[in-house]
């Protein structure tokens, strides 16, 4: 079955000023969502990316330039990704549609992994 990447972009200032109890509830929602995918054998992998901006490399006129990642200046940070199995974008959307990320102001970018 084709695989899709769900890239979770965090909203700016995500989860500031929450109480421990509120944070636990949020974690529980995400975990329940991931579990439901796992139970349906639709989850292939999931990784959190470290919270720094990362690095960008490019070569210009023979010189290798390294700079801070694209997210250093932008408001949204790519928090991590899930790889799900789905037959189509529509099915991948269904997987993502009840992801709690959407409830907390985050955005989810869906990209199909080219399986040819």
């Amino acid at each position: 079955m084709p695989k899709f990447m769900l890239l979770l972009h965090d909203p700016p200032k995500a989860f500031g000023g929450l109480s421990p109890d509120e944070m636990q509830k949020i974690v529980q929602k995400y975990v329940a969502w991931g579990r439901a995918l796992k139970a349906k054998r639709l989850l292939a992998a999931s990784h959190k990316l470290s919270a720094d901006a990362g690095r960008i490399m490019r070569r210009q006129r023979g010189r290798t330039l390294v700079s801070d990642g694209p997210y250093a200046e932008s408001k949204e940070l790519l928090g991590g990704y899930f790889i799900v199995k789905a037959r189509s974008y529509e099915e991948a959307e269904t997987c993502a549609s009840d992801c709690p990320h959407l409830d907390y102001g985050g955005t989810i970018e869906i990209r199909q992994i080219d399986g040819r």
């Binding site: 000023g17 421990p20 109890d21 944070m23 974690v27």
Partner: protein
Amino acid sequence: MAARSKSGRSTGADGAPALIGRLFRTEAGRLIAHFTRRFGPSQLDLAEEVVQDALVQALQLWPYRGVPRNPTGWLYRVACNRALDVLRRRSAFGARAAEIARALARDRDDADRPDRRERRLRAVEDDELAMVLMCCHPSLTREAQVTLSLKTVCGLSVGEIARALLCDERSVAQRLVRAKRRIRARRVSFEMPAGRALAARVESAVDVIYLLFNEGYAASSGDDIVRADLCREALRLGLRLADAPAVATPRVHALVALMALHAARAPARRDSAGDLVLLEDQDRSAWDRDLLALGFEHLQRSMNGPAVTPLHLQAAIAATHASAPTADATDWRTILELYDELVAVEPSPVARLNRAVAVAKVHGPRAGLAALSPLARERALARYYLLPAVRGDLLARAGDVENARRAYRLALSRPCSNPERRFLESRLRRIVRTSA
């Protein structure tokens, strides 16, 4: 694998760990206590920051990686690392920095070692107890003691405290700032005081916990869920005191007994529609057996001494109610005797109001009304809906329909929650119907 509540972890159907109960809240309190010990009470803000940061890291990582096998150990380790970072960056600790760093590194090594788990848990319980007693330092006002306990020991946010105590967030925040300033100015120690200072601190802690419980139990308005949490937290703190031999006075046990016996009835206090159910109409099979047993156990232990405090008497009253298999079997004579004693040592208006109910049960509604009448002049009860509500009930029982109705209307004109309002309205309707 069986569910293990002690470690805050259980396993779901797929074998992966799941979070249970109030793990974050409880751990937040414990960790703040622990880092307050390490950094010193003057750096309470820093301890809170470190813990908040560890929880945020869990919030960001666990959605992708799942809940770790040992969530409390994970939080402890991450918070220790964070504390070490902070220590390196701040100069506030001066010569103590190296010593604190060594202790933190040792803590971190303990976090994931199963053979040190028991030691760590015992240390954490000591930290928690010391924190409760620190929050009750005599230089703080009662209000500040309550607020600071909720923030640090119970892990509530400013918003949650405001909802629980029915005040606005700004005044909660101000109270916390002032309390921390006072702690710094007075150089309050985290070490447990000794001798009479300890006894006085424990007395304060009992008062603070009792206040928390009452705030939660009264539920006259506000957010019911937050208030139920208050009862749970108060019971947890009470048990923390009761489990520590150095502070477990008879009065501490009486407090735990009282809270447990009241909390046991909580499931039967509301019907499926959310309406109030009077004690005499409650389904007694819905009472929480474990909490009842806990209550009786601590009532027993509260009698290890000569002291009979108001808490002892209130716990004994609650126990007498709890021992009755049916409402009709309630031993009202014993309850009245206990109220007589209670009113003799603590003649609070609410205690006298409750005594009047017992008088009516034993000697009839007219006698109850006579016991009630001096309370009409009590300013503390001037806005309290229960006074006219009880009066209305006794008048109706005495056959004075006209005045009963008037009393219920007066009760309805006073502040009360929606379930209470519905309850009063249904009472009023019943009087009108039976007299028609």
